[in-house]
Symmetry: C2
Subunit: 336 residues, 2 copies
DNA sequence: CTGTTAGCGCCTTCAA
DNA sequence: TTGAAGGCGCTAACAG
């Protein structure tokens, strides 16, 4: 499958390669007549430009990379979709990479994207351990994270204010009359979980309601599995069922729901359940009350930030660490 | 952000660019000592090779493109994950593109991938109308479809034998005692639906059981929405509920389930439901009986085919149009 | 073992 | 309005 190049087109059209280039790029300095003739030849010969060569000389590829942990999760895939869309609107193509929740894969993809000369990267990092690679490649191109990074890390981010989110969840359950609160599905490697859990505890303490984090030493691949397992673990632990459960995320809550169903436990009759992230679209079996930011807003903001950085270079920390205000989305998984 | 090139490395290490290239590529013709020294300089200076330049000269990028209609659907995203994985195993990186079920977007992505010089494309086409673009770009590189293409189209594919699938579904419902069969969620643009529906009708006719396709003039973006809507339409149509429903796909079945739940209709007590594709993982509320091929097998076969084509060029039609045998996966959405 | 050189396909001055 | 020529960063002969 031999590639057709502008040289072939030039020969066929009886012009120089410069003219072909001009015709192709809409540059001026060429007569309408020749442009038209050349373009005709191009599609008669089924010419496709070589993006590598073009990118090489222009130092621009008009593409950005998107790296997410798990395409199978509706939460991440929705973000990916929104991000691709936002990129398109700004004239960029998006290349999507699935890190499989694996640090090595994530890093390989960052490398691949940099090598492919994408102009910027939007990433939902696996966790705190992702930060080294992000820092490393951020010297090559702008990188924006969709999750808060730990303090020493300089990567710009756009995320929810998780402290506020944890507090909102606790306060809502308490306002619904819950007297025994549990945070389920905690995974300490996730900064968001730590922030949510911590502020959840604080809020409960402020209102003098007993609350704790259910600690459980398992590591499952997905949040769904973790929720399912932690809840089953809880059932056999001897601890009696709390009347309010804060799931570490909606995905986790999903797993909890499955375990409940298998054990004849009803929500919200037997306990109130609240999650985070607002992924519960298309899940007909439960309307999950949740705390979340608008995904559209998050992505819109993040892509704006990224494109600004592409054009203007690095921004001040103040402008590049954005926390959005989460809000409560009431559905039907809590009493009342 | 100035790129560091092998020239910079060469100067810094006091060698020629050729030596740098050799060190980087593990080519021999260079002493271990210099290689090590050069590599040290590379990572001290934080060098990242320019993939565009490399791809340009080697005419190989070691990447393939994957195009799917909707990343948010667990069915497609699972395929995408399996395909990326299979590609990695064979030494290829995978670039994922989401066509949003839009013909224009799909075509733009095909173009983008070709321009980026991917070596092959795996695509789950939107529909029959995708075939023109596939044919066009298949002159540039190997393309393998994950869905049957219509007869005049020459694109290789690896898919389920949908005729067989439709028959299996009908026969199973009948064997469970169903006496009034309906095919729901039909969308005529989808070849797979046509094949499933047609063979479903044939099988029912063979066994003298009344069966029909529920035709409904709506066009929703997702199969889920279509299922939901068509079922609600059915409820208000005056037709009495069949005792066996074949959903056009599992995603459609999902929508049906939601509509049932809202209307107090129980499955399988009120009717038996069967779908296609086997996407019902992580859906705790219903164990959907379905007819499907193994996704692993499909992707494994497709990626094999694609890599073979990349290496050897076009294959014979016989070797490149593969239909896999679907099988019945019994769960709990049918009576008995 | 090492360096020099000629492209890969394209864009972009600079002259004509 | 056009063409010739140089170079983007890299690899792959070819000399030495």
């Amino acid at each position: 499958m031999k590639q057709i190049t502008i040289k072939d087109i030039a020969k066929e059209a009886g012009v120089s390669i410069a003219s072909v280039s001009r015709a192709l790029n809409g540059t001026d300095g060429i007569s309408e007549a020749s442009r038209k003739r050349i373009l005709d030849v191009c599609d008669r010969m089924n010419y496709t430009p070589n993006g590598l060569a073009r990118g090489l000389v222009k130092r621009k590829t008009q593409t950005i990379g998107i790296v997410i942990p798990d395409i199978m999760s509706p939460f991440y895939s929705e973000l990916a979709v929104l991000a691709s869309d936002a990129a398109h609107k700004r004239g960029y193509q998006a290349l999507l990479c699935n890190s499989f929740r694996e640090l090595g894969t994530e890093e390989r993809y960052l490398k691949l994207l940099v090598e492919h000369q994408v102009e910027g990267i939007l990433i939902f990092p696996i966790g705190v351990r992702s930060e080294a690679a992000m820092e490393k490649y951020s010297r090559n191109l702008p990188i924006v994270s969709l999750n808060e990074t730990s303090t020493p890390c300089h990567i710009p981010y756009v995320c929810a204010d998780e402290r506020q989110a944890g507090r909102i969840a606790a306060e809502y359950l308490i306002s619904r009359g819950c007297k025994d609160l549990l945070f389920l599905g905690f995974k300490k490697e996730r900064l968001a979980h730590r922030l949510r859990a911590e502020s959840f505890l604080n809020a409960a303490a402020d209102m003098r309601i007993p609350a704790q984090i259910y600690e459980c030493q398992t590591d499952f691949r997905t949040s769904f599995e973790r929720g399912y397992d932690h809840f089953r673990h809880l059932l056999t632990s001897g601890r009696n069922l709390p009347d309010g459960i804060v799931a570490a995320s909606d995905a986790t809550a999903n797993g909890i729901v499955k375990a409940c169903k298998e054990n004849g436990i009803r929500i919200p009759e037997d306990f109130s359940l609240i999650g985070f992230d607002n992924i519960s679209t298309e899940l007909p079996y439960l309307d999950l009350t949740t705390v979340a930011i608008s995904h559209e807003k998050q992505i819109e903001t993040a892509v704006n930030l990224l494109t600004e950085m592409i054009i203007q270079g690095p921004l001040s920390l103040a402008k590049s660490r954005i926390k959005l205000e989460p809000r409560l989305i009431v559905r039907r998984s809590c009493k009342n």
